[in-house]
């Protein structure tokens, strides 16, 4: 059993990571950080840069939590990827960060968080920065 957090290098993602770390410590479980960019572009803003990765490792170590970072790209829907990995690692809880979307944003692109909340077969912890 492990805690899964969907991470992107944004305030929401950082909030999610902090919450996930806390959860992992509380449950005495390991932590899987899913930082998977979409598609095959060589550069992606969704990928956590090295300083952020280092900080995550340091914090996990300080809290005595085992950290696994997954950065392989995925194709298709981000929500599907999160749910797939949750199934794979048998996550006890999925932690995600929420952010406000504009009306147009919601119309054109939908919401990954919403899909995860609705389709997950295990508890979801949604946090805001």
């Amino acid at each position: 059993m492990t805690v899964l957090v969907g991470y992107v290098p944004t305030p929401e993602g950082d909030a999610a990571f902090s919450a996930a770390l806390q959860e992992a410590r509380r449950r005495s479980e390991s932590l899987v950080v899913l930082n998977s960019p979409q598609g095959g572009a060589p550069v992606s803003v969704d990928v956590a840069p090295d300083p952020a990765v280092r900080r995550m490792n340091e914090r996990a170590e300080a809290d005595g939590v085992t950290l696994e970072l997954r950065q392989a790209a995925h194709s298709g829907d981000a929500a599907d990827e999160v749910l797939r990995v949750a199934q794979e690692v048998d996550a006890s809880v999925i932690v995600i960060g929420l952010r406000k979307r504009s009306a147009v944003g919601k119309l054109l692109m939908g919401s990954v968080a919403q899909r995860i909340l609705l389709d997950a077969d295990r508890p979801v912890l949604a946090v805001k920065p």
């Binding site: 960019p37 095959g40 060589p42 550069v43 992606s44 803003v45 969704d46 090295d50 392989a72 194709s75």
Partner: protein, 511 residues
């Protein structure tokens, strides 16, 4: 020397051509597209030029070639960026830059690497243009005396060299070239008027059209090939600050830049040589020359300056065989050769004298192009890095549609769309199975010339092929041809004998 008086005037006229607003615009478009294509892994300059061939029909010949050449040497600038920043070579000629360029990037000196590369590229390109300006008219005037035997030998040698030095298996490249020559025979036989291999299809009666073949083989073929999962790990975007090398770096690289320019210029003229080979050779030379070779691979600026200068010099000088002899030196030149045919210009030694505006217009446009690229590579490099964020899945259908619809616009023929798809499949299969499509297109483009020259030569020689060797130029070229063809076999025999001797020596030592 009265040739000197003739030299200057058309060159100056060439500058007036270049400075026309339309030509400047298309030069800018060309080098920008080239730089973008160089940055993006996937599509190469040959594929891009092929896909943009339909555009050349609606515009002036000079303008068209200025743009297409800009794409080619522009790509040499762009390929460096991903090599340095991402350890991901954007172009084959920038692979060597990864060794030291990426090392510099890891040391936080990405700006230095990019700056040195840009400056080296600029110097290499410009030096090459100047040398080209002097050398090209000389070669062209020399080649005006060429007859069918010379052209036969030249075409044969050109095809062989490109097949030999191309990436991948030599055998497969030769197969590709032979198929290209065979495809060139489809259609009406110029000598007898009979139809060959047309299977009664009216569309094939005039022969296979160059444009769909190029667009399919390079364009669609590459896109289909990229469809297969070939995921590169994504990286976080990086800020590129301070893209200007220190004075010490510049001084250290100056030798490498000088050597790279000369080396690149020489290797680029050689058919099959080109930018990739030049970059490899320049790196080897720099490392061998250096008194501290252990720095190489760890961020030696010469390891960036040398190859980057050489590949730009080579890309520029590879225009020489095309513009003076009408023989393309590599696959991209073959596409440009085809473009020239499409717009009604026949490349050959007479190009300098009969179309001086085109000849000098194109060459002089390269000065401007290099200046524009220098500007884009240094202050504007951050913009170009942004394109790496575009997902290839989005670019792919756009490119496919541009190709399918674009090929239609050439002849308003749906058959051309069928052709481009057929050759797209062929291009995919070739890349998948290790056959370089370049030699096929090059051979196709030269096929008509080769067969014609061969048959005319045989008529002149009254069937006696040995007479090829009685003429000094065709004789020499054919000897070189035979040497290049047979040398690897001899080399292999030597290598096997030497390794057998070495084995005997080591066993002797053990005993």
């Amino acid at each position: 020397m009265d040739t000197l008086a003739v030299d200057i005037a058309p060159v100056l006229d060439g500058f007036t051509v270049v400075l026309e607003p339309t030509n400047l615009l298309y030069c800018l478009i060309g080098v920008t597209v080239g730089m973008l294509v160089g940055v993006l892994p996937g599509l190469g300059p040959a594929a891009t030029i092929a896909i943009l061939l339909p555009i050349t029909i609606g515009i002036e010949p000079v303008t068209a070639i200025i743009m297409l050449s800009g794409i080619f040497y522009g790509a040499q600038y762009g390929g460096t960026i991903t090599s340095v920043l991402l350890k991901l070579p954007g172009e084959a000629s920038s692979v060597v830059t990864v060794f030291d360029g990426h090392a510099l990037s890891r040391q936080g000196r990405a700006g230095t690497a990019l700056g040195i590369a840009a400056i080296g590229s600029f110097v290499g390109g410009t030096v090459s243009i100047v040398a080209l300006s002097f050398l090209a008219p000389v070669v062209a005037s020399f080649a005006l005396d060429f007859g069918p035997p010379e052209y036969t030998a030249l075409a044969l040698l050109g095809i062989l060299l490109v097949s030999t030095i191309s990436s991948g298996s030599r055998l497969k490249a030769l197969v590709a070239a032979s198929i290209g020559l065979l495809l060139a025979t489809v259609g009406r036989d110029a000598f007898t008027g009979g139809e060959r291999f047309t299977f009664g299809n009216l569309n094939l009666a005039d022969g296979l059209d160059f444009v769909p073949i190029a667009m399919g083989l390079f364009g669609l073929g590459e896109i289909l090939y990229n469809l297969e999962e070939r995921h590169t790990a994504a990286q976080a975007p990086m800020k590129v600050a301070n893209v200007w090398p220190s004075r010490r770096d510049l001084r250290q690289s100056s030798g490498a830049i000088g050597r790279g320019s000369v080396l690149g210029f020489v290797l680029g003229i050689l058919p099959g040589g080109g930018a990739t080979l030049a970059s490899l050779a320049a790196y080897a030379v720099e490392k061998r020359r250096s008194k501290t070779p252990e720095r190489f691979g760890n961020g030696a600026v010469e390891g960036v300056a040398g190859p980057e200068t050489a590949n730009n010099a080579a890309a520029t000088s590879s225009f020489i065989p095309l513009l003076t002899l009408g023989i393309p030196a590599n696959a991209t030149m073959a596409v440009i050769f085809g473009a020239l045919l499409v717009i009604g210009v026949s490349p050959g030694p007479q190009l300098v004298t009969e179309e001086p505006e085109l000849f000098w217009g194109v060459i002089n446009s390269m000065y401007i192009g290099n200046i524009l690229l220098l500007i884009m590579s240094i202050p504007l490099v951050g913009l170009f890095v942004k394109i790496l964020r575009v997902r290839p899945a989005i670019l792919a259908p756009i490119t496919v549609l541009i190709t399918l619809i674009g090929v239609y616009t050439v002849n308003n023929s749906v058959f051309d769309i069928v052709l481009v798809i057929v050759f797209g499949v062929l291009g995919y299969l070739m890349k998948k199975l290790g056959f370089d499509p370049g030699p096929l297109l090059l051979a196709f483009v030269l096929g008509v010339l080769l067969e014609e020259s061969l048959r005319r030569s045989l008529l002149i020689f009254d069937g006696n092929a040995a007479e090829f060797f009685t003429r000094p130029i065709s004789g020499t070229l054919l000897v070189v041809f035979l040497l290049v063809a047979l040398l690897p076999l001899i080399g292999k025999a030597f290598a096997r004998r030497r390794s057998a001797e070495q084995q005997n020596d080591t066993t002797k030592e053990l005993v």
